[in-house]
Amino acid sequence: MALIGFIVNPIAGMGGRVGLKGTDGVLKEALELGAEPVAPQRVEVFLRRLDSIIESRGIEKRIEWLTCSDGMGEDSLRSFASDYWEYEVDCESSAPTTAEDTKNACKILLGKNVSLIVFCGGDGTARDIWQTVGEDVPIIGIPSGVKMHSGVFGMNPEATAEIVAEFISGEMDVAEGEILDLDEEKYRKGEWHIQLFGTAKTPHEPTYVQVSKVQVEAVGEDAIKEEIAESIVEDMEDEPDTLFILGSGSTVGAVSQELGIEFSLLGVDTVVNKELIAKDVNESKLLSLLDQYPKVRLVISPIGAQGFILGRGNLQLSPEVIRRIGIDNITVISPPAKLAQTPVLRVDTGDKELDEMFYERQYLRVVFRYKTMKLVKVGK
C-alpha cells in the first residue's frame, strides 16, 4: 500500500474566471461575480486518468488515500471509486474552507507518515502546504488555481496522474520544486511581482545514464547538481578576477556548496576567485560591484514551473543590471529532469526591449550536466 495524503482546495481557481488574481481572501467577491467551483472537475479528471494508468500498466501497488472531509477530498473520492485504492478521512474541514484547514490537515498527514501529498489548488495552496510540510514529504499539485508558477504541479491533471502512477511504481526520484506566489505587499501597492518563498520536495523523473546498451542507471538530482556545480567552479578557475553573480534557487546554490561558502537560497550572491564577496545583494550593490569588476558572469537557473530565468523571484537582477552584464555573459544551468519539463525558457525583466533582445537570440545554452550543454528555446 502507498499511503498518500490528498487535499483539495475546493475554492481554488474560482477567482480566475471572474477576473481576479486569486481566490484567497476574496471568495465572497468571487461568488458575487458568479464564480463556480473548478476543483471538483479537475480532481475527477485526475482520478479517472490515474485509475486507467494503473490498470493499463499493470501496476501492482494499491493506494490508501488519507484525506479531509467533504469538499476537501472526501466528496471526490466517494464519487469516483476504483479497484486500485481505498480512502480514509483523517482531517476535518470547515465551511467555507480556510488556509488553516489545509495547514491542520498537513500536520495530521505528517503524523501519519504519508509518502506523498497530492493536492488540488494553485500557488496559494502550494504555499500553505509547504509552510507546514517544508521538505519533509514530497508534494505534487493538480493544477486548478489562478496562479501556478510553483514547480510542484503537473502540466495538467492528466500529467499529475502520470507522475503519481510513476511515484507509486517506484520510478520517481524526488527533487526540489520552488514555491512561488504573488508578493502580496507589493500587490497591494499595485505592483505585480511573483516572489520565491522557498523550495519543497516534489517527484521528478530521474535522469537516466546509459550503463550498457540495454541498461541505464538513474542518477540522483543532487549528484547532477554537483556535476553542474563542478563545471561552474572550473569556469571560475579559468576566469580569474571575474565577478560571478549567482542567482537564486537550489541548482545555483549547489555552486556555493561546491565552493564551501555560504549562500542565500532566495537571494543573489557574488563570488570572485572562488571567494564570497557579498551575500544576498540588492540592485544598487550589484551596480557598484559591476563598476568595480570589468569581467562578469551571471549564473542562473529556471525558477518554478514555467521556465522563467529572469523576472521571477529575482528583482535584484533589474533590467539595468542585466544590460550591464550582457546576455553573452549569462550562463543558464538546470538539471536535465527539470529541463525536460520546461522546454522553453522565459524572461520577464520588466523591460520589453530587453526581453526582445533575449527573444532575438531564439536559443540559449543551458548547462545540464558536467560541461555539457544543449540549446534551449527562449520564447514567450
Partner: protein, 393 residues
C-alpha cells in the same frame, strides 16, 4: 571499523532488488543462427554476428594457421614488441576495403572510442554529440576537458544551430555520432553532417559498429553508403559484430593514424591482438570482398522478416537496417512477449523503459545472414502465436 568492500554486496543487492542485475545466459557451443542457450535450442535473433562470419570455414582456417605460424599471443603492447606483420596486414586490408588512405586497429571498438576521442579535443574545444550515442563514445567524451553539446537525435537543424553557437566560442569542433543506431536501427544523416562540418570547419567522427559489413556496397560501411568514403575524418568500427571476430578499427588519413597511434592510451598501454585474431580479421575482409552473398542474404532475410512482421500487424518503427524492433507498447507486454517467444524457441531480448519511452517497449531483433527461409518462418510463427495469445496483434 569500516567495511572495506561491503559496498560491493550492497550495490549488487540493490540492483537485484530493482531487477537490474544481469542474468547471464550461457551459449553452449558457437554463436550460430541456431544455437543452444541455457540448454534450449533456439533461433538466435539477438547476436551481432550479422553475417554469420564467426562460423565461416575460411576464418576458422586462417585463425588456425596463424596459431601455428605465430603462436597463441603477441607478447607485448604494439609500440614495444607486440607489433606483428599480421597487424599491419590487417590494417592495410581495412584501408583498402574502406577506400581510405590508412587505418589503425585497436583491441576493441570500446578501446578505439575511449582512447581516441579524448585526444581529439581538449580545453577550449567542443564535442557535439547526437543524444542517442553509444556509451563507449560517451565515456570517451567524459575523458576530455572539452565542452560538450548534445543535439536531438538525427536533427540536422538543431545540429546546425549548435554549430553556429559554437563557431566563435571554441577552437576545435568535433561532431561525433553513431552511424547505425543500435536501438532503432536507423541511420545517421552522415552526408548532411559532413556537409555542415565542411561549412563550419568541424571534424567528424562516426561510430559505424553496426554499419560495418552491413550497409554500403559490399558492406563497406557508412562512408561508402553515402558516397563520402575518405571524407569523414574518423570512420570508427568494430570487428566484433558483422566481421565475426573482435577488435576496433579506425579508418581515415595517414595523419589520423600517425596521430592516433602515438596518442591513444588504450592502444599504447594494452597488449595487442593475438595472431589468430589478426588473421581472422584479414580473412573476414577478404571474404566480404570475394563472397557478396553474405551481405545479400542478410538484406534478403531482413526484408522478408520485417515485411512479414508488419503484415501480421506488428509495429517495426523506423528501422532501415537488419536491426528490427518489434514495438509492443507497455513494458510488461514486451517482457511477456520475450518470455513466450523464448519458450517457442526464439531468442530475442526485450528493451523496456527507461531505455526507450514508456509506450515504446519492444523486442529488438537482429537478423543473421545464415538463417534459412524455414528458420525465419519458424521464428515468425512464434511471433504470431505469442502476439495473438498476448493480444498484441
Amino acid at each position: 571499523m569500516r567495511d572495506p568492500s561491503g559496498f560491493m554486496r550492497e550495490e549488487y543487492q540493490d540492483l537485484v532488488e530493482k531487477g537490474f542485475d544481469w542474468k547471464l545466459r550461457v551459449l553452449e557451443g558457437p554463436s550460430a543462427p541456431r544455437c543452444k542457450v541455457d540448454g534450449k535450442d533456439v533461433i538466435m535473433l539477438c547476436s551481432n554476428n550479422y553475417l554469420n562470419m564467426s562460423n565461416h570455414p575460411r576464418l576458422i582456417a586462417a585463425a588456425k594457421k596463424a596459431l601455428e605460424t605465430h603462436g597463441a599471443g603477441s607478447g607485448s603492447v604494439r609500440p614495444i614488441a607486440g607489433n606483428l606483420d599480421l597487424h599491419f596486414e590487417a590494417e592495410r586490408a581495412v584501408a583498402k576495403f574502406k577506400h581510405t588512405e590508412s587505418a589503425l586497429i585497436y583491441q576493441t571498438g570500446f578501446a578505439a572510442n575511449a582512447g581516441l576521442i579524448p585526444q581529439l579535443a581538449g580545453k577550449g574545444d567542443i564535442i557535439i554529440s547526437d543524444e542517442l550515442n553509444h556509451g563507449s563514445i560517451i565515456d570517451g567524451v567524459r575523458l576530455t576537458k572539452a565542452d560538450r553539446a548534445i543535439f536531438p537525435h538525427r536533427n540536422m537543424g538543431e545540429l546546425e544551430k549548435v554549430l553556429q553557437d559554437s563557431d566563435k566560442k571554441h577552437n576545435r569542433i568535433l561532431i561525433v555520432s553513431d552511424g547505425v543506431f543500435s536501438m532503432d536501427g536507423d541511420i545517421q544523416y552522415m552526408d548532411q553532417i559532413q556537409k555542415l562540418a565542411d561549412e563550419y570547419g568541424a571534424m567528424t567522427f562516426v561510430d559505424d559498429a553496426h554499419g560495418e559489413g552491413v550497409i554500403g556496397p559490399d558492406g563497406r560501411g557508412i562512408g561508402a553508403h553515402f558516397g563520402i568514403a575518405g571524407k569523414i575524418d574518423v570512420e570508427m568500427g568494430t570487428f566484433s559484430k558483422a566481421y565475426g571476430v573482435v577488435g576496433g578499427l579506425i579508418a581515415g588519413s595517414q595523419d589520423l593514424v600517425n596521430f592516433a597511434l602515438n596518442k591513444s592510451r588504450t592502444w599504447l598501454l594494452s597488449g595487442s591482438h593475438p595472431p589468430q585474431v589478426a588473421a581472422a580479421q584479414i580473412e573476414a575482409i577478404k571474404v566480404l570482398e570475394e563472397e557478396p552473398e553474405h551481405v545479400n542474404n542478410l538484406w534478403d532475410n531482413t526484408k522478408y522478416f520485417k515485411n512479414e512482421l508488419i503484415s501480421m500487424g506488428y509495429d517495426c518503427g523506423q528501422s532501415e537496417t537488419p536491426i528490427t524492433p518489434v514495438i509492443v507498447g507497455e513494458s510488461h507486454k514486451a517482457k511477456a512477449l520475450s518470455e513466450r517467444t523464448f519458450e517457442l524457441g526464439v531468442f530475442a531480448l526485450p528493451i523496456v523503459f527507461p531505455m526507450v519511452a514508456r509506450d515504446a517497449a519492444r523486442i529488438r531483433t537482429m537478423m543473421n545472414a545464415g538463417l534459412t527461409k524455414d528458420d525465419l518462418n519458424e521464428a515468425l510463427a512464434a511471433f504470431e502465436k505469442a502476439g495473438k495469445e498476448l493480444e498484441i496483434i
